[in-house]
Amino acid sequence: MATSTSSLPAPARSSSLADSLRDAGTAALLVLVLGFFFLGVRTDIAPGGLTLTFRWGLLISAVAVVFAGRLALNLFVFKAKQPVTGRMAGILEGTDLSGLGKWLSRILLAFAIVLPFFFTVFFPDRDRQYIDLAILIMTYIMLGWGLNIVVGLAGLLDLGYVAFYAVGAYSFALLAQNFGFGFWMALPLAGLLAAFWGVILGFPVLRLRGDYLAIVTLAFGEIVRIVLLNWYQFTGGPDGISGIPRPTLLGLEFSRGDDGFAAFFGLQYDSIHRYIYLYYIIFILAIITNVVTMRLRRLPIGRAWEALREDEIACRSLGINTTNTKLTAFAIGAMFGGFAGSFFATRQGFISPESFTFLESAIILAIVVLGGLGSQIGVVIASVVMIGGIEMLRNLGFLSQIFGPGFDPTQYRMLIFGLAMVMIMVWKPRGLISTREPTVVLKEKKRIGADMVAQGEGH
């Protein structure tokens, strides 16, 4: 698929540089004129009335940015023989990420296992921050994998996945608050409760597909959040629930006391121990999610999910009970969401409905879609890029030197998100990893590219 730019008529070659310069100059002049009032002049309220301040630096940098940007676009895209965007598309399409997949996943797995020690050794002064970020990314990987069962395998577009995350988190928080449950006791219960709610959601939407299903699941997510927000006596409403117990290691708490983890093993107390422990909990939970999913894919139920995604009527005519198939997809997907939710609660120690907004659902879905529906390694890459990317924005403080002290790069994360989404969907409409590994192999492995199938088929 070529991008639309490559089909533009190519202008005469001879004066392309001069043309580009002239065009860039015009654009810069426009910015100078328009920007003079918007950027160059600023009014401030002073004792004697308004005073004008001139911000020449800002104006000139805006003009320079536009000039350089327009020139670059002219040279490489608009007037170039072979637009760079076309080549980009070529690169994105040409790279066989899936062939890389096996090795990449092994390397990533090995890195994930040693990650906390890697950071404590190489970044001793910022290790807590990095491990915390790794925990966050790992949580989203797990959520992505959980949602992948529903959206990627069974083809049921679920916009309310965060509801199960919330159910898991609140299950643990309430069990701890009211009955003194610890994390490990509450974890299976939280998963079961989330699965139960998955079935509850599943029943009314059994007959729905595509857009209609998406709307109902969206509403379901909002209902759960609004109930949590308004049922003050039970959930604490907007105040949330605090004092959620931390996870223990075989009864050992990660505290400074004499019966804590550090004292028991004769180590110097360090709060990093708890972070490392949390990291390994979510790492193992995520790995379990992955292993279970991969295993299920090879079992009749997993194949039935995929067949359901492809063609529901054909499924029924082969004697598959589509009701049960859909409900198990919802339930199992929700269960992993619930596990992740109760991990979230124990990690934060405090939860409120604010953490479970539609935006969370959207981010998890974006991770699944960007990674490539049904692709496990794609979810990992997308999580690292998206969640890690947002965090990276926080470290771009130097940009405020250019754009003024009030500039906060994190404010632009949605903009960048959107841009990334559009670019991926233009160049890789089926996500980063758009191939699907067959579950049975006869003699040799043949990859199945999804790009030749009509888009949107089976959703």
Partner: protein, 244 residues
């Protein structure tokens, strides 16, 4: 029309509606054990509706469908399929992103695992092309191969009754011939009972033991296939000026 009263499938006065629109107006059809029965008719006559009604999707609003002595009129689709009926639905409906092998596995999901290899060999013998394409994605097969896959997938369920909905749709004459030969072979060698819905009246009537003609939701004619083929009304309506 049942000749000897041991009908495997009998459809009695079945009426089916899509909302308020009537699609079948009291249809009677019998399929005996070991028979190939075909149902021909024009576009929109209700042929596919009858086939889908037998499968319980949509369910008949009136009348009765008896399969192997059991009333299946109001059973859900997946339970009907468990009784030994397999369907190759209209438009093939193979699983496009799954491999040929996986498609066949889906067909065998109701059958004990120990039969899988044997059944697989059998359908590969019937359709050697599928064996060559085993690892290939269903969506990349040609139309004829997809139809073979749809039939093979249905056969993997070890059916007693095979329902085929327009297997000749959009296929080259040579492929149609090939597929019809396979159907005849299955019937002859394995005694498989086949109910075939077709627009390609000539081939279908030649193949079938008995045939029914459907017009506007009613059965208007029935009889042995070759006799129907000779009838003037059938020739005029479905054969002249088209096909073979």
């Amino acid at each position: 029309m049942s000749a000897n009263g041991q009908a495997l499938l009998s459809v009695r006065k079945v009426e089916t509606y899509y909302g308020k629109i009537v699609a079948l107006r009291g249809v009677d059809v019998d399929v005996d054990r070991g028979e190939i029965v075909t149902l021909i008719g024009a576009n929109g006559a209700g042929k596919s509706t009858l086939m889908m009604t037998i499968c319980g999707n949509p369910q008949a609003r009136a009348g009765q469908i008896i399969y192997d002595g059991q009333d299946i009129t109001n059973m859900p689709t997946h339970e009907i399929m468990r009784l030994g009926i397999a369907q190759s639905p209209e438009g093939r409906r193979i699983f496009g992103r799954m491999t040929v092998m996986e498609n066949l596995q889906m067909g065998a999901s109701l059958v004990a695992e120990e039969h899988f290899d044997e059944d697989l060999r059998r359908v590969y013998d019937l359709f050697p092309r599928l064996k060559e394409r085993a690892g290939q994605r269903g969506g990349t097969l040609s139309g004829g191969e997809q139809q073979m896959l749809a039939i093979a997938r249905a056969l993997m369920g070890r059916p007693k009754l095979l329902l085929l909905d327009e297997p000749s749709l959009g296929l080259a004459p040579l492929i149609v011939k090939q597929i019809f030969e396979v159907i005849a072979e299955l019937n002859r060698n394995d005694g498989l009972t086949v109910f075939l819905v077709e627009q390609n009246a000539f081939h279908a009537l030649k193949l079938a033991h008995r045939g029914y003609v459907m017009v506007n939701g009613n059965i208007t004619m029935s009889g042995p296939g070759r006799e129907l083929l000779k009838k003037e009304e059938v020739r005029a309506a479905y054969l002249e000026g088209g096909r073979h």
